[in-house]
Symmetry: C2
Subunit: 273 residues, 2 copies
């Protein structure tokens, strides 16, 4: 049985000193790509500590990425900035020894029910879950040099046919990746899980035939609602590559048709095609 997401992002309060709360945690093995932990996974560890310290779920969380994250023990230092009635704001530094891996700023609070609703957009139009493609299947078919990623054993992600074409040298030509997100074993995805989902699919830019490392500078996730049970419909797009950077926008929709999260990241652009 594969280790669950909740276990892999567990945090333990070890010290409180005024506005500073220190949590012990661990970057677990097997949530990596090529030996470095996935960016959304590391954000989820910090986000869990922040949510516990603020005693409410994330509403808007921004992480800046400072260094690759190998597996091993880490510490999350949460500092309260302002604790209000509805909203609470704090920062977090996730460090391994003396080495900071990410720095995070977030505001936490419950979404409200009722009120105004206005939606200019719909969930991505995807084939049924069963008709979409598992990355592990493409990789294990053997017609590629892409290494199997530890992460793939943790996830039951199914990608829209064509969007994994970059793995076998047939990029779709459009900087878009869409698909269904689920953890293995139907583990529920809560607000902390959404922080992970926001960075769980391959960079859409790969479908332009671009290869190489796409290091995230900054990732922001807006949590709009706690997801209803079931696989999530996701779409990620890169629209503008310019000045050495690129954007990546994500939408995550639940089985009830609610937009549960939006994400945007700025990443360094690979040098060329």
């Amino acid at each position: 049985v594969s280790e669950g997401f909740e276990e892999a992002t567990k945090v333990e309060l070890v010290d409180v000193d005024g506005p500073v709360q220190r949590y012990r945690a661990e970057v677990h093995d097997g949530w990596d790509i090529g030996g470095n932990a996935n960016g959304g996974y590391v954000l989820a560890i910090a986000g869990r500590a922040m949510a516990e310290a603020m005693d409410r779920p994330p509403l808007s969380v921004t992480a800046h990425y400072l260094a690759p994250a190998p597996a091993g023990p880490c510490e999350v230092v949460v500092t309260t900035v302002r604790r209000g009635g509805r909203l609470a704001t704090c920062t977090a530094a996730l460090v391994q020894g003396e080495r900071p891996l990410i720095h995070v700023l977030g505001t936490f609070g419950e979404p409200t029910d009722g009120g105004l609703r206005h939606m200019e957009g719909v969930p991505p139009d995807l084939p049924p879950y069963e008709a979409c493609i598992s990355r592990a299947d493409v990789v294990s078919a053997g017609n590629t040099d892409v290494p199997a990623s530890g992460l793939m054993d943790r996830l039951a992600v199914r990608v829209r046919p064509g969007d994994l074409g970059f793995i076998t040298g047939e990029p779709s030509g459009k900087a878009e990746t869409a698909g269904w997100f689920a953890f293995v074993g139907e583990q529920p995805v809560d607000e902390i899980g959404l922080l992970f989902v926001a960075d769980a699919m391959a960079p859409p830019v790969f479908n332009l035939g671009v290869t190489g490392w796409v290091p995230t500078v900054e990732l922001t996730v807006h949590v709009r609602m706690r997801p209803a049970p079931g696989p999530l419909r996701c779409i990620f797009r890169t629209r503008f590559i310019e000045g050495g950077t690129l954007d990546e926008d994500g939408e995550i929709w639940d089985s009830a048709g609610n937009l549960v999260a939006q994400s945007r990241q700025l990443a360094l652009a690979p040098r060329g095609a």
Copy 2:
């Protein structure tokens, strides 16, 4: 002659203590709406201190808004998180006395020339600058209760015909505001200016006939390039109002046809129409 943006966002280094650099600054009068300084203006003050401390322009900056900002002296406390060869990351707290107004996290660095360029999108299609509408003109025409804003004297913004309809009770029905941005007197807009531009137009949600306060929780600006001279083409859209919050996405394009900044904010949704 109206006070310039650079003067109004000036910062002065007063103290360095390890990774912490303290700047004296002032929230100037006349950059407000209804007595509270504009959110982009306050961000620009903090952003200028951060850019000076990091000695490079902003690349990605996120502000969380904690309290309204009246005019008066303030302090920006910049703390270096990581200073690398190309990129440098820091936080900033902008405080008045003991009261924190915003907390900011940003990464700073020069954009790179050349390399990959891929643009899925074009500047907003606007009538010529002269054919667009000045907010001050609409307000001073007198057929509205909207108070003249101090900010309007500082700006030479011209909005797409129809997009100011909400002022006179004729909202366009589409949550979009587009127009030309310029400071009065043709002051140039640099990277710090872009932080201000990202929040300088009226909330697009007003064009759904929604009124009331739309407090920003979080604003992120990606600076993609230093703008070429001349008015900037801007478009801001709200797509999803749900769970008590709304998004607002912005694109800012320069006269050379480059996307110079993208912005996104999460704001609290007004209670109803």
